[in-house]
Every structure is written in structure tokens, then in C-alpha cells.
């Protein structure tokens, strides 16, 4: 950033919860990040950084996105193409009466229109929320209600199966854009609408602290939380893309994450485009030969993936990888859940480069702790804090006071707030947001340990959230769907270890009078949950119980279910009122 940067930066800190450093130190700390973006004289817009400025600086012909369709087709979009498509989106949204600040949701597979739609939304000063297209109707509806969705970009098939039935009940929703040339009644077909729209749009000069993205994340109790991120986050996307993933201009980069999750947006759209790389986008799901073939054919240089996929490759063995040429690979990174040491060692052997694990959350907006390029990889460790990031291991006493723990001790992983991509709010949930910040620390909810060399090691979740295939799942949302079934009285949902997915979702249920446990009922309940929640969230296993362990206040003790499942000590059960049977 040029002369406007100090101004943008100082404005950026206004609404931050607790600052641990004086302005000058903070400005200095992020100066390196600010140098990677341009900004406007009077603001900052992610789309300008990701697309417009590259075209203006003469890079319009460079490929921004190479799309690999399911059936083997490819489509290349240059930076100029992407800017034009984003502009058309912005014009379509604006022509339908949408205003800056309105909430645009994206719900579809990995097609170029999803990427251009996200950027067009930002270009128009609106707020983008990606949803995972494999979600069932319930998680979609809950999130669109909390986010007061104004517009939705989706496909006819998803719309008919998951949205149409309740669309009229969501009063905020004014516009549904449907991929392709035809649209169901009450929706607008994107093909003709984009075709008719002008390919130019003056990017809105948003203020650095204007909301840009809302990512939903699961809570242990209650509804999912909408983490609000602002345009200023682009400083950290640029910086961490460069320094945690080695994204330099022209790099051929493949992020396998779906934009429906935060990784697929921060590092699947924004960080790569801001750093002017060429992104590979594969529409298809994991398929071993397709993946290996893609790396070889596209000469992928930087590859960002997830432990579940890496473990699936490992299952097949090194033999399956042998026919392929991986010599283009320069840097491999992994995120979503801890990468086991065996996977790190295996990847070094098979690809010639180890996967570098890193750690961050929806709330942090960007990579916080990483095995960084050029750093010695400690297999099994998440790495060291990024430059400018201060991390600590914290013990929370009964009375709420915090103590910072020393090396080798297990506690809650905490960060000093203040980096640009930190969430600014949980939408409409000030109290839940405030609870994340204590004594100048952001508390992550993850348990970890730091070794004497400064490397951090993940230990587990401090709460009941479940990590499956890299996705964070709130047990409450799953339990709520289960008890909607007429047979179910109560449900307790936990994660149980799984060698491929990390954890899988398992449910314990009690039944209403008139219903008996049976294999048919177990199937029916799983079917019900899959319909409501989608396969990624629904339990893979359901067991029946007469009663569930509960506290005196009637709360199901998931912790106890889990300890028993794992054969671990049951810990403090003084609050146990009714035991499991």
C-alpha cells in the first residue's frame, strides 16, 4: 500500500476488542503485509486487490483460474476475464436493487461462476457468504436466516431440492440467481443475465472495516455463528498467502478445499488472486488418479490440501503414485485437522516434498501457526506462529482468570488479537463474541502444547465440537435434527476417532414410547439425518440407549459418552445426575 496505508490501518483498528500493542507497533507489524496490496485513496476492496489492480498493471492476460470440469473439459479465465465476469455479477446484483452491505450467499459446486460471484459481490460492496453445497436444507436455512440473506447464487437442482420448499418464508431473500440459461419460477437465470450485463463496474470504495465476508462456524450449543470479516482482512490474506504458502506471482496453485468452507475462500479465492497466481479449480471430488494426473499435467507448484485426502492417498500406497511426475511441486501444505507424522513422512517420500501442516480457524480468517516455507518441518506439529502473530498456551482457572503456561504444558491455544483478518463479530451475537476474548487473548477452544523449540502441537478440542474430514461440526445441530424424528426422545452426539476422517460423527439416542430399537430404525434415523443435514454433517453411526448420562440441570454429558467410547478416565462426574443405560 502507498501513502494511504497508515490511514487505512489506523481506521481499521477502531472496532477491535482488545489491543495488546500501541498503534505504531501494530502499524509497523503489518507494514510488510500492507506492501502487498494497493488500496484506494479512500478505502480498500478485496476485489480490487484480487482482480482489478492486476488488470490495470498489465497482467490482464495472465490465467487467473483454470477450471477442470467433472467430465474432463477445461476452461481458462484470465485476470481480465475474471474481472469482467465479476463486474457482470456486480451489475446484475445492483440492477436487482441490491445495495452495498446486502448479504449474498453462494451455494453451488466449484464452477467459475461461484468464484466470479464471490468477487462480484465484493466489487459491489456487498457481503459474501459461501455455503457448502452438500449441506442439507436445514443447515442452509439456519445460516441464511441468521445472515438475513438478500440474494442466493445456486443451481436449479440445489434450489429445487433444498430451497424451494421454504424460500417464501425467508422474507429477506429478494433474488435467487440460477446457474445456466433457465431458471425455476421466481428465480433469475444467470446465463442471460450475465450476458446482458456490462463487463465494467466501478468497484465500490469500501472502508477497510466494512464487512466483506461472513463465514459460518459451528457452536457447541445453540445456532451456528456467523464470523464477520472485513475488507482489511485482505492484508493478511496477501501476507499469509505469500509467507505461509509461498504464493508468488505466476505460481501454479491448487487449493483442494471447497469455497463452502473458510479455507476454500481465504486460500481458494482471495489469497491466491491477490498474490496473482494461477489457480487450478477442480469441480470433481477426490479421485486418486485424477488428482495425481492433475498435478502432473498442470505442473502444479503449490498444493494446499487436507489430512483426510492425504490419508486416502496413503491408503493406496506409494505404488499408485509411481507412474506420475511430481517434479513441478515446490511447496505442499495441509490444514483442517492435525496431520499425523506418518503422513508427513510418507508425502516427503512420494512427492519429494513433505506436507507442511498449519493451523487456523474460521475466526482467525487466515493461517496463524504454520510449518512455513524454508522452516524445518516437525512431523505432527502445526509449526510456529506466523511473523506478527503472538500465540500462547493458557490455563483458565475456575474463576475465569488466565495464566500463561510454559513449554511442554497442555492448555488452551490463545492468540493476541489485532491481526487484520481477525473476525470483527459473530453476527447478532455480541455476548458469544465477547466470550472469546479474555485478558487480551483470543481463546481458540483448541488444546495445544508448545515445545522448547517453539513448535506448537495440537492436543484436542476444549469443547464438544467434532472435527471430521477437516470440517468443524457442532453436536447441537446434529442432535436437533435427530430429535425432529418422531421416534427420538433425546440425542447425544460425539466424534469418535477414525483413521481417515480424523473423527466421525456418532449419535446416542433414546426413543419415545411406542418405538423399539432395531436395525431398520437405525437406518431410518440415519436417512432422516442425511436428508436434513447432508452427508458431511449427519451421523455415520447411531446407537440406542435407555437413558443418556445427564447433569442435574438436564444437560447431556457428551464428554462422558466420549470418554466411555474411547475407554478413557471419566474425569469429574460430580454433576452426573442420571447415568447412561
Amino acid at each position: 500500500m502507498q501513502t494511504d496505508s497508515p490511514n487505512a490501518l489506523s481506521r481499521a483498528k477502531g472496532s477491535r476488542p482488545e489491543m495488546s500493542h500501541p498503534d505504531s507497533v501494530e502499524a509497523e507489524r503489518w507494514r510488510m503485509a500492507a506492501e502487498l496490496v494497493d488500496g484506494f485513496d479512500d478505502g480498500l476492496n478485496i476485489c480490487h486487490e484480487a482482480l482489478d489492480r492486476h488488470v490495470e498493471n498489465g497482467h490482464g492476460d495472465q490465467a487467473a483460474l483454470r477450471w477442470l470440469g467433472k467430465s474432463g473439459e477445461t476452461r481458462d479465465l484470465s485476470y481480465a476475464d475474471m474481472r469482467a465476469l465479476a463486474a457482470r455479477f456486480a451489475n446484475v446484483l445492483t440492477a436487482h436493487g441490491l445495495q452495498p452491505g446486502d448479504a449474498v450467499f453462494g451455494l453451488m459446486g466449484r464452477v467459475p461462476e461461484l468464484y466470479a460471484g464471490a468477487l462480484g459481490t465484493l466489487k459491489a460492496g456487498m457481503v459474501f457468504t459461501p455455503l457448502f453445497s452438500a449441506f442439507g436444507p436445514e443447515p442452509i436455512r439456519t445460516r441464511m436466516e441468521i445472515g438475513s440473506a438478500t440474494a442466493l447464487i445456486t443451481t436449479a437442482s440445489i434450489y429445487k431440492r433444498k430451497i424451494a420448499a421454504w424460500r417464501d418464508e425467508l422474507k429477506s431473500l429478494k433474488l435467487v440467481l440460477i446457474l445456466g440459461d433457465e431458471a425455476p419460477e421466481g428465480c433469475v437465470a444467470l446465463g442471460p443475465a450475465l450476458g446482458a450485463a456490462a463487463p465494467e463496474f466501478d468497484t465500490v470504495h469500501t472502508a477497510p472495516e466494512d464487512p466483506a465476508l461472513i463465514h459460518f462456524t459451528s457452536g457447541t450449543t445453540g445456532k451456528p455463528k456467523g464470523a464477520v470479516h472485513v475488507h482489511n482482512a485482505v492484508l493478511y490474506h496477501a501476507f499469509s498467502g505469500r509467507h505461509a504458502l509461498d504464493l508468488t506471482p505466476g505460481t501454479i496453485y491448487w487449493c483442494t478445499a471447497d469455497p463452502g468452507w473458510v479455507t476454500g475462500t481465504s486460500y481458494g479465492i482471495i489469497a491466491p488472486l491477490v498474490n496473482r497466481v494461477t489457480m487450478i479449480v477442480d469441480e470433481a471430488e477426490f479421485d486418486l488418479d485424477r488428482w495425481y494426473g492433475t498435478i502432473q499435467r498442470e505442473r502444479v507448484e503449490v498444493w494446499y490440501s487436507a489430512p483426510t485426502a492425504i490419508r486416502m492417498m496413503m491408503r493406496t500406497g506409494a505404488e499408485a503414485a509411481r507412474p506420475y511426475d511430481f517434479s513441478s511441486l515446490r511447496f505442499l501444505a495441509s490444514v483442517g485437522e492435525p496431520l499425523n507424522p506418518e503422513a508427513v513422512t510418507w508425502s516427503a517420500k512420494v512427492f519429494g516434498k513433505p506436507f507442511h501442516d498449519n493451523w487456523w480457524q474460521t475466526e482467525t480468517g487466515g493461517i496463524m501457526i504454520a510449518n512455513q516455507p524454508g522452516m524445518e518441518v516437525r512431523p505432527g506439529s502445526m509449526g510456529k506462529p506466523m511473523p506478527g502473530i503472538e500465540a500462547g498456551i493458557i490455563d483458565r482457572a475456575e474463576d475465569g482468570t488466565l495464566t500463561e503456561l510454559g513449554d511442554g504444558q497442555v492448555g488452551e491455544l490463545a492468540l493476541r488479537p489485532g491481526w487484520p483478518s481477525m473476525m470483527r463479530a459473530y453476527l447478532h451475537e455480541q455476548a458469544r463474541y465477547d466470550k472469546c476474548f479474555v485478558d487480551g487473548w483470543y481463546l481458540s477452544g483448541d488444546l495445544a502444547m508448545r515445545d522448547a523449540d517453539g513448535y506448537f502441537w495440537f492436543v484436542g478440542r476444549a469443547d464438544d465440537l467434532i472435527k471430521t474430514s477437516g470440517h468443524l461440526i457442532g453436536p447441537f445441530e446434529v442432535e436437533s435434527a435427530l430429535i425432529e424424528h418422531e421416534a427420538v426422545a433425546e440425542a447425544g452426539v460425539i466424534g469418535v476417532p477414525d483413521e481417515t476422517a480424523g473423527e466421525v460423527v456418532k449419535a446416542y439416542v433414546t426413543l419415545n414410547p411406542g418405538h423399539e430399537p432395531s436395525a431398520e430404525l437405525e437406518r431410518a434415523l440415519r436417512g432422516h439425518a442425511r436428508k436434513a443435514l447432508g452427508p458431511a454433517v449427519a451421523p455415520r453411526e447411531i446407537v440406542f440407549r435407555e437413558t443418556l448420562p445427564k447433569t442435574r440441570s438436564g444437560k447431556i454429558m457428551r464428554r462422558l459418552l466420549k470418554a466411555r467410547e474411547l475407554g478413557l478416565p471419566e474425569g469429574d462426574i460430580s454433576t452426573l445426575e442420571t447415568d447412561e443405560s
Partner: protein
């Protein structure tokens, strides 16, 4: 002779009970059309292994991705 089509459908809908076996088209893709995720596919492979003793290597997953393909695959790979 084993009815591989019926057996495959049974394992498929056991893993994804939200699917009505009567509505599954022979050429519908289990991931693209029936919305199984990769964990489901892995579980399906394990279920078929348990039932028929057949080892399905990862590279062959595309060959069990529809009812029609899987029936043919099982017919030729399961020792009679």
C-alpha cells in the same frame, strides 16, 4: 448366481439410507447424482469387501460409481 445389482444397492442404501433404492437409475453417479461423500464411498468399498471378499483398489473406485458399472465390476471380480 448372485444378484450383484441388488447386493450393491443394499449396501449403498445401508450407507446412505436417505436414498430410496427404487429411484436409483442404473447410470446415476453415486457422488455427482446421489450425493455420497468420499467417506461414504470408502465405507461402501469396505462393505463390499466384507460381503464379497473383493479388494477394490482406489484406482477402481470410478468403476463402481454407478449401479450399472458396479454390477459389471462385481460380476467380473468376485470369485464365484
Amino acid at each position: 448366481m448372485t444378484d450383484f445389482r441388488a447386493a450393491y444397492l443394499e449396501e449403498l442404501t445401508n450407507i446412505a439410507p436417505d436414498i430410496d433404492p427404487d429411484t436409483v437409475g442404473d447410470d446415476e453417479h453415486i457422488q455427482d447424482d446421489l450425493e455420497l461423500d468420499s467417506m461414504d464411498v470408502l465405507n461402501l468399498v469396505m462393505a463390499l469387501h466384507k460381503r464379497f471378499g473383493v479388494d477394490i483398489p482406489e484406482a477402481d473406485y470410478p468403476r463402481i460409481a454407478t449401479v450399472a458399472l458396479a454390477t459389471r465390476y462385481l460380476e467380473s471380480h468376485v470369485a464365484s
